[in-house]
């Protein structure tokens, strides 16, 4: 009974998958959407109950209180035994709330957003499947089971990016996401293989105990394992050099971008590192790499976001950049700060995406029916403040939180990360500070381009506010964004103390006024700069970006550091060439050529030998004579020798 309660957060959405997949065709949109949403709400409810129960447990028991096993092994072969085991501890309980809470809001929003889509039921099947998979990832008590969730969320991501699959571009974006993620996943799998070979176990508890017990002797192995796991994280959490899939993933419906590609799935890498922090802390060399990669990602992606025109692409690069902050925090060992930023980011970035979805929805549905222009291009927007007042307010709240304006949630969580960086790793601090400047600038730019000035297209002129079913979740998320900072206020630190049994020692510290002031200045200054530069830009749609005056620096940002082009030219082209070379030259010509060559050889020899059997009696006679003479000679010699 207890077990059923513990895993019911997973089972509820799975039930939705079953029902909507089988009966969805015969159900009304309302029934499908509300069924799926309410099941996630139920999942959230149970998570809340479990969270409360866990809170009621004594602090030193919270790590083991929620460890359950279903009693049936999933894989059992030889020494390898992986049970269906789940773990609800402060870390996973927090994550469950984020996933089901934000997930439920986005489900409800989707009822409005996806209204009228011919594959409405399928959308909610995927969405439910995603929530279930994400919960498997979060609640797993072993590396391998976590990997199951890890890959399944990747599948949902693939399916949802390519949801409108009749446009081949969407399908290709989905495939790109899956394949790039798979590269990381292979590293993850290798990490698991090495873990099992080293520790003979795959459950977190056993492995961590092994790390603690064997200390020095396994240091090299742990360094290798953590590095492999981190490569896995760079795939899922879109860190350089594997981040290239995330901007393309914006091809999916906007609620998907909010749920999967901002709030939950992409944070799985950070969650995984927090979960396995025992190993990462035992591998300082890996941690240094993690911190540096995170900070570089924050910078590179933040710089790219400066010049994008697609409203979702800006947010996508911003997400990569913010994920870089979290990864850097994990690399610095500041898991609480990383998780704190993960939670607040889930609030404000989901809010931003959903608000952007509301904008796109308004542009698409109320503009001209045959609009050739791109409804996601910010150059076609402008002045939407008046048309979409509610959307504007919530977008503004989300944007200010992202930029780090106090007292919104993003300010506090970002502040903790940079404080840790300042204390422990100056290069990382510098990189993060610069990307914070970029962040504030592109937020300002986006706000101006979308909401201020005059409408720059018919679509923008005819935009109307979205229905209540879409705006209600926005309001809830906006409230969370405003209040989210309270989760872990400096000097109070509720979240930190709550998480500390799972992610290690935590001690809150009072607000560093100097640093906070600096970052407030950065936020406001960046916003103001964005405002100033773009205030009068694009008054007619064909005008170029004011920043294009920067020349190559602009091009570098606009083309995302040319990484996509590089991969396309080297990896993709190379693979195509190799593949067609192997298929046509080596396989058909070489290997199959040898096989057919043997056949031809046999035929040739047969033809040649066959000529001797021409039917000429005299030829046979000659052969016979030669044979007889040879035999006689042989026997004469042998006979002579024998005597």
């Amino acid at each position: 009974m207890n077990q059923l309660l513990f895993i019911s957060p997973i089972l509820f959405p799975l039930l939705g998958v079953l029902i909507n997949a089988t009966l969805g065709k015969r159900m009304s949109e309302k029934a499908i959407g509300w069924l799926a949403s309410l099941l996630v709400v139920a999942s959230f409810g149970v998570s809340l109950i479990l969270f409360a129960q866990l809170g009621g447990a004594p602090e030193d028991e919270r790590l083991t209180w929620g460890a359950i096993s279903l009693g049936i092994p999933w894989i059992q072969a030889g020494a390898l035994s992986v049970p269906f085991g789940f773990l609800i501890d402060p870390l996973s309980a927090t994550m469950m709330l984020v996933v089901t809470g934000v997930g439920a809001l986005i489900h409800i929003y989707s009822i409005g957003y996806m209204h009228g889509d011919p594959r409405f039921a399928r959308f909610f099947v995927y969405l439910n499947l995603f929530v279930a998979s994400m919960l498997v990832l979060v609640m797993a008590d072993s590396f391998l089971l976590m990997f199951v969730g890890w890959e399944l969320v990747g599948l949902c991501s693939y399916l949802l990016i390519g949801f409108w699959f009749t446009n081949i571009k969407n399908a290709e974006a989905g495939r790109k996401a899956f394949v790039v993620n798979r590269i990381g996943d292979v590293a993850f799998i290798l990490g698991i293989l090495l873990t099992f070979v080293t520790f003979g176990a795959l459950t977190f508890a056993d492995v961590f105990a092994g790390v603690a017990r064997r200390g020095e002797s396994v240091q090299a192995a742990v360094a290798a394992i953590t590095l492999l796991l981190f490569i896995g994280a760079t795939g899922k959490s879109a860190q350089i050099p594997l981040h290239v899939w995330l901007p393309d993933a914006m091809a999916g419906p906007t609620p998907v971008s909010a749920l999967i590609h901002a709030a939950t799935m992409v944070t799985a890498g950070i969650y995984m590192m927090a979960r396995t922090h025992v190993m990462f802390e035992a591998a300082p060399s890996t941690q240094a790499v993690v911190a540096l990669v995170g900070a570089l990602t924050a910078l590179v992606a933040g710089y790219t976001a400066l010049t994008q025109f697609d409203i979702k692409r800006v947010l996508a690069y911003s997400t990569i950049s913010q994920l870089g902050f979290m990864v850097a925090a994990a690399g610095l060992g500041a898991y609480v700060a990383g998780m704190f930023h993960l939670v607040t980011h889930a609030f404000f970035k989901a809010l931003l995406f959903l608000a952007a979805g509301s904008v796109i929805h308004a542009m698409e549905h109320h503009g001209h029916h045959h609009h050739p222009a791109d409804p996601q291009d910010m150059r076609n927007m402008g002045g939407l403040r008046a048309k979409l007042p509610l959307t504007f307010v919530v977008f503004l709240i989300g944007g200010l939180a992202l930029a780090g304006v106090p007292p919104l949630a993003g300010f506090f969580s970002k502040d903790e990360i940079v404080l840790d960086a300042l204390k422990h790793n100056l290069p990382v601090f510098v990189l993060l500070t610069i990307s914070a400047i970029f962040t504030a600038f592109y937020v300002g730019r986006q706000l101006v381009m979308v909401f201020f000035g005059q409408p720059r297209s018919d679509m923008a002129r005819h935009a109307q506010e979205s229905p209540a079913i879409m705006t209600a979740p926005l309001v809830v998320l906006a409230a969370l964004t405003v209040l989210g900072g309270a989760l872990n206020l400096p000097g109070v630190g509720a979240l930190g103390y709550w998480l500390s049994p799972a992610v290690g020692e935590f001690k809150t510290h009072p607000l560093d006024v100097g640093l906070a002031g600096l970052f407030t200045l950065i936020a406001l200054g960046g916003l103001a700069a964005g405002w100033l530069v773009y205030r009068h830009a694009f008054t007619t749609p064909d005008l170029t970006d004011p920043l294009s005056r920067l020349g190559p620096l602009y091009a570098l940002s606009k083309n995302a550091w040319y990484l996509d082009a590089l991969y396309q030219a080297v990896v993709v082209k190379g693979f195509y060439t190799l593949s067609s070379f192997l298929a046509s030259v080596l396989d058909l010509g070489g290997i199959d050529g040898i096989v057919n060559g043997v056949g031809r050889l046999a035929r040739g020899v047969a033809g040649w030998l066959g000529r001797a059997q021409a039917g000429f009696v005299r030829a046979y006679g000659v052969l016979m004579l030669i044979g007889v003479v040879a035999l006689v000679t042989y026997f004469l010699i042998v006979g002579a020798n024998a005597r």
Binding site: W74, I75, A77, A79, G162, I168, A583, V595
Partner: protein, 486 residues
């Protein structure tokens, strides 16, 4: 009981032969009944199978050619039990899916199919090397005709190539079998395995068997008959070829090479592992370049079967068990994929992927089923392929970390070519107006693949019974061969 399973299809074949030529419906029913009966009896055999026991069970033994100590001996153990089940399960499915693909000479077709079942079952169950060889070679004949008579345009080329290539491979095996049988005075597999260290020509004998088996698997670079055979064979032929016939090779490697020549297995394992890993990557890369859907899946078989050989020659418990499970998995998912492609071929009479596109929009159920099979083949967790692949990789990693790491790269490549396959046919917009009239699969077609898909989920989520049935036998095999599991 095992003889009943083996020869039930043969009886069915005889009945089909005496039926009048016009009675197509009756032939289909007889074939269906005979194969279903074999399946039901094999379920009984499974129920009576003691999972904790390592040795052969349900053994039936009789003298056959006493002058040469050749016996008729069949039995089943943990290594062959799931292959037996896979075979008896797949034949009814294939026969159910046949009416759409086979329109001419039905009498010969159904008789040959049933003969084929008897031959393959015999291969998996025979415990006498001579008997094994008879079944082994006999299995070639029906497949030769199925490809050659009901195949595509280049069917004659493909069938002759298939026949000669695999026949040539097994010639040396016959020599080895005769040598061993005459030297040891028995062809009984159990008794031969008991004296496995006696062979002076250990390595040569190993190679003689291995060549026959790796051609059948097929292991790189002996694979070139496979794409032709698969592509030209009619759908049911492709399914049986992929799901059952290839397994005969992998099964032979375990049953003969590992148990009879442990010393040589150890010595030559690095070579086999290297070829297997090259095959995994090579098959995947070459599959990507194919434009014909069936050829692509054929090359994917080369890649997937590479995993199986890799597992076998890891020579540890995880590797061999993973390989055995992966044999079943490959039979389910690749067999299913061939059926799926067959459905499309029956509608459009082409397999060129470039001429499809957007099929999922036209055929929602079909697209969903195909996606599940593709994902199973990609090795997505919660489906069967992942369990097998992971266990194999774990075993291989214990044997050789570097090669295992290369093999793991196959996971990326399989995603690349299989998702491309799916995208070209099912996603995007239609590239040919002929696709506009496509109709979704009917319940009969869906029902035929449903068992395969259901089993993909079952193995993916609950692999325990599959592993536990084989573990005792694998244990004793490795133990007897002195390869105690690391």
């Amino acid at each position: 009981m095992l003889s009943t399973i083996t020869f039930l299809p043969l009886i069915g074949a005889l009945i089909v032969v005496v039926l009048p030529r016009a009675a197509g419906r009756a032939m289909r029913s007889v074939a269906m009944l005979a194969s279903l009966a074999a399946f039901l009896v094999s379920l009984l055999a499974l129920a009576g199978f003691d999972m904790s026991q390592a040795g052969y069970q349900l053994v039936e033994s009789q003298q056959w050619i006493p002058q040469y100590n050749i016996g008729y001996k069949v039995g089943v153990d943990g290594i062959s039990i799931w292959l037996l089940m896979l075979t008896t399960l797949l034949f009814p499915i294939v026969i159910a899916a046949s009416p759409g693909a086979i329109h001419t000479r039905e009498k010969e077709y159904y008789a040959l199919m049933l003969l084929m079942e008897t031959a393959t079952l015999g291969v998996f169950l025979a415990l006498d090397m001579f008997l094994f060889y008879v079944f082994w070679e006999f299995a070639l004949v029906p497949m030769y005709f199925i490809i050659g008579v009901w195949g595509g345009e280049r069917r004659v080329y493909a069938s002759v190539k298939f026949f000669i290539y695999t026949m040539a491979g097994s010639a040396l095996m016959l020599v080895a079998i005769l040598f061993m049988g005459v030297t040891a005075g028995t062809f009984d597999l159990e008794r031969l395995a008991a004296q496995n260290s006696l062979w002076s020509a250990n390595t040569l004998l190993f190679l003689a068997f291995a060549i026959a088996f790796v051609i059948k698997v097929p292991l790189f670079p002996f694979h070139s008959w496979l794409p032709d055979a698969h592509t030209e064979a009619p759908t049911p032929g492709s399914v049986i070829l992929a799901a059952v016939l290839l397994k005969m090779g992998a099964y032979g490697l375990i049953r003969f090479n590992l148990s009879l020549f442990p010393e040589a297995s150890r010595q030559l394992a690095p070579l086999m592992i290297a070829l297997a890993v090259i095959g995994i990557l090579y098959g995947a890369i070459v599959a990507f370049a194919q434009s014909d859907a069936k050829r692509l899946i054929a090359y994917s078989s080369v890649s997937h079967m590479g995993y199986i050989v890799l597992g076998i020659f890891s020579l540890n418990q995880l590797g061999v068990q993973g390989a055995l499970l992966q044999m079943i998995n490959h039979g389910l998912s690749t067999g299913g994929l061939f059926m799926i492609v067959g459905y499309l071929y029956e509608r459009r009479h082409t397999r060129e992927m470039a001429r499809f596109g957007g099929v999922w929009a036209k055929m929602p159920l079909y697209g969903a089923l195909a996606l599940i099979l593709v994902l199973s083949s990609v090795g997505l967790p919660a489906l069967n392929g992942f369990v097998g692949e992971f266990v194999i990789l774990q075993g291989a990693f214990q044997a050789n970390q570097l090669w295992a790491a290369f093999a793991a790269l196959g996971m990326v490549l399989s995603a690349v070519y299989l998702l491309t396959f799916y995208q070209k046919i099912f996603l995007g917009e239609s590239r040919d107006p002929a696709n506009d009239t496509l109709t979704d699969i009917d319940w009969r077609e869906a029902l035929a693949v449903a068992p395969l898909i259901a089993l993909c989920f079952v193995i993916g989520l609950y692999s325990l019974p599959f592993f536990s049935a084989m573990s005792a036998s694998v244990n004793s095999l490795l133990g007897a061969a002195g390869m105690v599991m690391r």
